[in-house]
Subunit: 213 residues, 2 copies
């Protein structure tokens, strides 16, 4: 995703098009991101310090303050960078298969402590930092927008009404799973994932996510 | 709800049946709960201290440590106490009306800073305290169990298949709203609430929440 511009993150490091892959700027940013993730996972947002990020990344504290402004800017940029991946939604041939695969990805991510720790830490940080919350909002908005082709394919196959909103459908699949993970603190399993996908599918078929004609 | 028994919370204060309403024990517990909520809302879990709760509640620090063990026990008991209310699910005469009223309650609660601050603080605390997470899990499990009559009435009216699980349906209404509030950090409004209710209704009608016959 394109990063949220901010005074603390100059375009040279935050706009993907202007960073040479593998260049010094990109390497620095990735090293800093790794240090931020490690710190968030280990200490949480309240315990994360610029000193820790400097020590872990090998980037001088003065540089961190100058380019990222402080802990809030570091966390927001790490999240921006997380959104610059090449993830695309599943394409299994049926909407039901695609939605079940989407739900399974959430279950698999959070079922793996190594994979789930960073997203959980970002979600926790957003409770304490408005900039982290903004970065999270941008991350998810962009992520759900990537699901448009999935819904277009389904509409073309006649599986959902034309005009079904991809973002609403994608959110509907994820919501019950994140709700259990971070609100009701209940376990996830494949049955829960399947039910989340089927519930979203039933709602989509019924036209709940279609804009009024 | 009945409180989670724990060494730090003796039955005399945590089991509702054994506390005389208005008695000294109940008054102390409520004063402590109010102080915990105020501290959570103002400073968040990382900033909450037994000293603060003592000062705000007028209950001696030694008593707080003896009866609640520390900050974790205080937060868990405040949440237990929050579950001891008399909330019952809406009864509007139709399942659609009931589900829309449920969703609207969430929107209204979190649209009111005074009402929404404490639940949000508990949800945040659960990221940092396993005991808070357990108390939250118990709180929601009991809350959703209270929705059984709502679903029984709907099944009796033929609005959903017999065997529809009340907990799954109630979770389905709430999940998209909490997802926006605390994960994707997107605003809630009446349209979003209506869509959450209608999506849960469509899924329930399609039998997604019915146990396999």
């Amino acid at each position: 995703m394109s990063s949220t511009p901010s005074p603390q993150v100059p375009p040279s490091s935050s706009a993907p098009g202007t960073v040479r892959p593998g260049g010094r700027t990109a390497r620095t940013r990735a090293a800093v991101r790794d240090a931020v993730l490690a710190g968030l996972v280990e200490y949480g947002y309240p315990g994360l310090t610029v000193e820790y990020v400097a020590e872990q990344s090998g980037v001088h504290k003065t540089t961190l303050y100058r380019r990222w402004g402080g802990v809030e800017g570091l966390v927001a940029d790490a999240l921006d960078l997380a959104g610059e991946d090449t993830w695309t939604p599943p394409d299994t041939g049926t909407l039901r298969g695609d939605l079940r695969a989407l739900a399974q990805q959430v279950v698999d991510t959070f079922g793996d402590p190594a994979a789930g720790a960073a997203p959980a830490a970002f979600i926790a940080a957003a409770f304490q930092s408005e900039r982290a919350a903004e970065a999270l909002r941008a991350f998810y908005a962009e992520r759900f927008a990537r699901c448009a082709p999935l819904v277009e394919r389904a509409a073309a196959r006649g599986e959902v009404p034309a005009g079904t909103d991809p973002g609403s459908l994608a959110r509907a699949v994820s919501a019950p799973l994140f709700f259990r993970l971070f609100i009701t603190r209940e376990p996830l399993d494949d049955t829960v994932a399947g039910q989340a996908a089927d519930a979203a599918l039933a709602a989509a078929r019924a036209g709940v996510f279609a804009s009024p004609a």
